[in-house]
Symmetry: C2
C-alpha cells in the first residue's frame, strides 16, 4: 500500500529524525505515501557497513513485500578520518571506500533491481569546530578529519555513482556554496545543523522527484478527506 524508502548511512542518517532532521522532513513530505525507514549507524564506515548490509536489508523484505522505492546510501564521513589521527580506527583507504560502495550498490541492485539508489557524498568538514568538539580527548592539536580528505572521498563517491549509473548528491560542494557553511550547515564541524538538514532534505526530495518518486508521483494511502462525499461519507469506503 505504501512504498518504503530506506536511509542507509552513518550518524548523519541515524540522527535524521532529530528536531528539524532531514529524515523526519522526508517522512512529512511523503505522508500517506511512503514509510521512511532509518538505517543509520553512528560511527560506521563502508567497511563495517558492507559487513552488515545483509542484516540491514534482510531477505524477508523481498518475500511478498514490494521492493522499496528508494535507498539513500550516505557514507564516507568516517572512512575519511585520517589514519594517523585520533579516530584512525574508522579510516578506510580511498580505493577500498570506492570498492565498498560498489559492493553495497551491487548488493542493493541485486536484491531490488527497480529500486532507485541515491549516493550522497560526505559533507564538508570545519576543522576548527572539530577541534572544539572532539569525540574523545584530543591533545594533538590536529583534527581527526580534514575538509580536503572529505573532498577526496566526496569525489570518489561521485565517480562510483557515475560508473554505476545511479543518482548522486554532491553534498560536499553544495554546502560549501552556502555563505558561512561552517556554522550555517554544521554544528560541530561535521554533523548537520537545522540549516544543513534542510539542504540534505531538499536535495534528496529533488532527486526523488527527478526519479519519478516525488510527493506528486506516489499513490496516497486510503481516500483523502477531500474525496469523501459529505452527503454520504461511507460510500467512499464501500466503493473503495
Amino acid at each position: 500500500m505504501r512504498r518504503k524508502i530506506f536511509l542507509f548511512g552513518d550518524s548523519i542518517t541515524e540522527e535524521s529524525f532529530s528536531d528539524g532532521g532531514w529524515g523526519a522532513s522526508l517522512a512529512d513530505l511523503l505522508r500517506r505515501k511512503a514509510d521512511i525507514m532509518v538505517r543509520g549507524y553512528s560511527g560506521y564506515n563502508t567497511r563495517w557497513a558492507l559487513k552488515v548490509v545483509e542484516r540491514v536489508f534482510p531477505a524477508a523484505e523481498e518475500n511478498g513485500e514490494e521492493s522499496p522505492a528508494a535507498v539513500t546510501v550516505f557514507f564516507g564521513a568516517n572512512d575519511a578520518c585520517l589514519p594517523e589521527r585520533c579516530s584512525g580506527f574508522q579510516h578506510v583507504p580511498l580505493d577500498e571506500y570506492k570498492q565498498n560502495l560498489r559492493s553495497i550498490i551491487s548488493f542493493l541492485k541485486n536484491r531490488w533491481p527497480h529500486t532507485v539508489i541515491i549516493l550522497i557524498t560526505p559533507p564538508p568538514i570545519d576543522e576548527e569546530a572539530r577541534l572544539q568538539y572532539p569525540y574523545t580527548e584530543n591533545k594533538t592539536g590536529f583534527p581527526e578529519r580534514t575538509n580536503e580528505a572529505a573532498g577526496s572521498y566526496a569525489k570518489a563517491c561521485l565517480t562510483v555513482a557515475k560508473e554505476c549509473q545511479i543518482s548522486s548528491i554532491d553534498l560536499w560542494s553544495k554546502m560549501q556554496q552556502i555563505p558561512n557553511w561552517q556554522t550555517e550547515c554544521l554544528w560541530d564541524g561535521l554533523h548537520l545543523s537545522r540549516g544543513g538538514n534542510k539542504v540534505v532534505f531538499e536535495e534528496v526530495a529533488k532527486k526523488l522527484k527527478e526519479e519519478g518518486i516525488g510527493a506528486e508521483d506516489l499513490a496516497v494511502d486510503l481516500p483523502l478527506i477531500e474525496h469523501v462525499d459529505p452527503k454520504d461519507p461511507l460510500k467512499t469506503f464501500y466503493e473503495f
Copy 2:
C-alpha cells in the same frame, strides 16, 4: 531485528512528523531500536477507521514478521464534531464511538495478542481559535467542535480502555493542566503546537516505558560504535 510501533489515528497522527512532531520525536528517542510507522488519516473518525483497519494493518504483517511492539490508537477529535454544525458529516455518536473503539482494539488484539495497545483521548478544543481557523467557510458563528463534547469523547475513550484493560492517555485532561493550554498546546484550537507535540511525545514515551518497551528495554540494531574495539574493529562484526 527492529521492533515496529504503529501510530494509528487522524490528522494529529498524520502530522506527527512535521517540525517538532511527536512521531518524529519518538522515532528519534527509539533510534536503532524501533521503526515508527505512521498510519494517520486526516479527517477520519472511528467509523471510517473501522472500515479501513484491515487495509491499514494487512495480514502480511503477521506472516513472518514479528508483531509490532505497540500501536497507538488516537481517534475522537473528528467523532466529536457536533452533528448539526459545519463538520457534521464527521460526527459519530458517542455510543458508536465506544463500540468502534472496542472493535478496533479487538481487531488489533486478535491480530497481535502480545502487542501493547495505547488509547489516546482527543485533545481539548479551544473554541475561539476554531472560529478563527475554520476548514471551510463558517458563517454560523458557532464552532464545529466544543471542548465539552471533546471531553465526553475523552471520557468514553478512557472507559473503553479500562474495560479492555489496555493503556490510555488522558490528553484532554493532561493538556488543560498546562497554563494557557489554548495557545501553548494548540495552534488552531485543535491541532498541536510544538508544546502540544511535546506533551503527546512525553506521555507516549512514558507509557511505552511503563509497558516495558521504552528506550532502555528495546534491543539495539547492530553494534554501537562504543562497543567496537578500536584495536580490532572488524572483530566486532565477525563475532556478531
